[in-house]
Symmetry: C2
Subunit: 444 residues, 2 copies
């Protein structure tokens, strides 16, 4: 298996001021960081110090939390932040090796605009851009784009598939060596190396060419996090990095085998699709210190916010009227991604949790694997999954920032390096080189 020859891929998933629901209320946190460049610059440099492959910003085209009124919303801590592509463009010139992965929706953008922005980011970063492709999953976003409700799941994926054809086609508008800038002959480019896309499809008619040259990576790295059957098929065809929510080893191994097999069935090399489960982390010098850090954050969870978050994580399921100290009711059918809901419901049933216990238990990782302990304890758990064929690496979700990222970079990574599981120097300068992904050949 190739993974024995390679080290773990590490993503740093960095929402200000951290992943724990109450991170913003922690005495050491800086809740205004989501709109401060210096805050993010410090985070990016910590990720680079920690030999992370990439930093990742999730995104929604609107306030994505479920809320009944402004009072409830005002207790939540994450609704304002930089637009990711602008922030990563700025960070590109302050970093040298870190991959820069922004989320953007295929439902509320046009492919020509997305192709341009990620190509531009790839040039600004000299080959470190990645695009996390989402179809969006809330009516709150749809309402900002002339809709009352979002389009059905299958329709969003149909649009997303055609969207990818257009974007990747536009990225191949020009061959790598099309631009020769020949001043003497007056040829800016070789006309044989221009390819007009002329896409005529169900959702899009896009002529091209793109008004950027082919970018340093050939194409920015495609990232995706779908876990529905549509999502996994999408990943098998398009994704080069897959983020996933996995709670236990067997399910993670099964998911890993499944998407690698699907990639192979789609004619791809399975090694060219990297599976990175999310891991929520609380790191302490001792186990007790980690536990204390966690309990301090748990004590700061507002019940109103806890219930709202649970509702959002279940796919905007309304839980008002149910007894917080009673069991989770049966779930209605939802239109969003169902993968995370399934994981959370299973977790509640297996552990016989009340609604209150459930929201507290996911206030940290929101359904993601929960790792708490010393650097050795956390390294043990990461190594177990990596060696057992459950992961090519991990998308690290620190409890609070910047402390949790510093702890991972400065305590956990050195332990992983001692075990030969994390690089001690970057292999290359592009995200593809560091992830071990091929640079895609031009289609012509």
């Amino acid at each position: 298996m190739t993974k024995k020859n390679r080290t773990m891929a590490l993503g740093a998933f960095l929402p200000a001021p951290g992943h724990h629901l109450a991170a913003w209320r922690h005495p050491e946190s800086h809740p205004q960081g989501g709109l401060e460049f210096d805050y993010y610059r410090r985070l990016a440099l910590a990720a680079e110090r920690g030999m992370f492959d990439l930093m990742f910003l999730s995104d929604g085209a609107g306030v994505r939390t479920a809320y009944k009124d402004a009072d409830e919303l005002s207790r939540q801590g994450r609704m304002v932040h930089f637009e990711p592509i602008t922030l990563l463009s700025a960070l590109a010139t302050h970093t040298s090796h870190l991959g820069l992965v922004a989320t953007a929706s295929t439902s509320y953008n046009e492919p020509f605009n997305i192709a341009r922005k990620f190509s531009s980011l790839d040039f600004l970063s000299n080959g470190r851009a990645g695009w996390n492709v989402v179809t969006s999953a809330t009516d709150a976003e749809a309402k900002n784009f002339n809709l009352e409700r979002q389009a059905p799941h299958a329709d969003r994926y149909a649009r997303a598939r055609e969207f990818m054809e257009v974007v990747t086609g536009l990225w191949d508008s020009w061959e790598d060596d099309a631009f020769q800038f020949d001043k003497d002959s007056g040829r800016f480019f070789d006309p044989e190396k221009l390819h007009i896309l002329n896409h005529q499809g169900e959702h899009f008619q896009v002529r091209g060419p793109l008004n950027l040259a082919r970018s340093p990576q050939g194409q920015p790295v495609i990232v995706q996090a779908g876990s529905s059957p549509d999502g996994k098929d999408f990943a098998a065809h398009w994704a080069e990095v897959v983020f996933t929510v996995q709670q236990n080893l067997e399910a993670a191994q099964e998911f890993y085998r499944d998407v690698k097999q699907r990639a192979q069935d789609a004619g791809r090399e399975p090694d060219q699709l990297k599976v990175l489960p999310g891991v929520f982390t609380v790191v302490g010098e001792t186990h007790d210190e980690a536990e204390e850090k966690y309990q301090q954050l748990q004590s700061l969870v507002d019940p109103v916010v806890g219930l709202g978050m649970l509702s959002y994580q279940l796919g905007m399921v309304d839980l008002t009227g149910h007894d917080l100290d009673g069991p989770l009711p049966e779930m209605p059918a939802i239109e969003g991604s169902t993968g995370k809901q399934n994981v959370i419901v299973q977790h509640a049933r297996e552990n016989n949790l009340t609604i209150r216990e459930l929201y507290l238990s996911i206030a940290a990782g929101r359904g993601h694997r929960f790792l708490l302990g010393t650097p050795v304890e956390i390294a043990d758990q990461l190594e177990e999954w990596f060696v057992a064929g459950a992961a090519d690496g991990f998308n690290v979700m620190p409890d609070m920032l910047p402390r949790g990222l510093d702890d991972f970079a400065d305590l956990v990574v050195p332990e992983l390096q001692r075990r030969g599981l994390v690089r001690t120097a970057y292999e290359g300068t592009t995200l593809r080189e560091n992830l071990g992904l091929h640079r895609p050949a031009h289609r012509h």
Copy 2:
């Protein structure tokens, strides 16, 4: 008149590798600069050294030149470059006083996305973002967005007007002091200071709120360049900076009076709309040196490119089949902006130019006022218009970059400073402060 109390506003209009059509073929030019961050960083720092208020990037959602085939296109020098908002986001953290103005189209974007990106740029730059609002003007762009032809001029403006209502409404989603981050009470923001837009219009239904706080300038500065009646009315209502194409003093004075009057009629202070005619510049230590620089560039114009450029500047009017050494034919009705066409046609008729003479005569400024000479000569001409009520400042269009911008910053600006016409230190740190524009009060 307030302008006597103020210095000139200066914009640096910076398409790589310069404004002259043949700039890319000049021995000193760097034609690949459009996709190199260090090239643009150097330009931005030169503009800041020259006390410019802002740098400006034009943009099209596609290759905007008129061309019949790849052979013709391959002789043109401007079709690939950074996407402006990503580039300016990166430049924001390398500059401290320079305004950063990007073009974006209301025809091929959604208002929620545009509101986010410019707000994000305003945060990244600590208050130096500006948006040049365009409705786009070519079928080449329309073909990248599911259309065969662009929408009619009046329809594009109707959409643009509603677009502005939505964007400015979203920018006021939160009052300036909405976010208090009160860790003790658990209130991230004051719910009384959140305002849901709930826009329900003909083109857009947008709920809001924006997922960014109110930005440092309250709202990014609105820039516009319309010269049709629709365009001037749009400017009167929305624009705070107006770029314009003006060839002679009387017409410039008339335009100046007209848009200021329209702004006043719309209930605005005329001083809160700054009129900046474009000026194409060739600077020499001596007049002869400037003339030599110009003739060297003129000698590099490819006739195929000259004719294509003329066709584009006239609004995609096809000129093939006409004798290059005969007169310009009558113009057909066009769907794009008509202001520039009118200026060019008038210029041809008044000077009795052949098609060849016409394209050569606008190969430099493409219809803009043409200034060639020593720093004193150029300063004289700028001062004349500024004092005569034809301009609040100028949008400077250097012949080639970086040389032409360096010459303006290091030779012309010191001469203007000696006359008290250009600042010797920035008045403030935001674009509004430097332009003398009010920070808009929140609407609630």
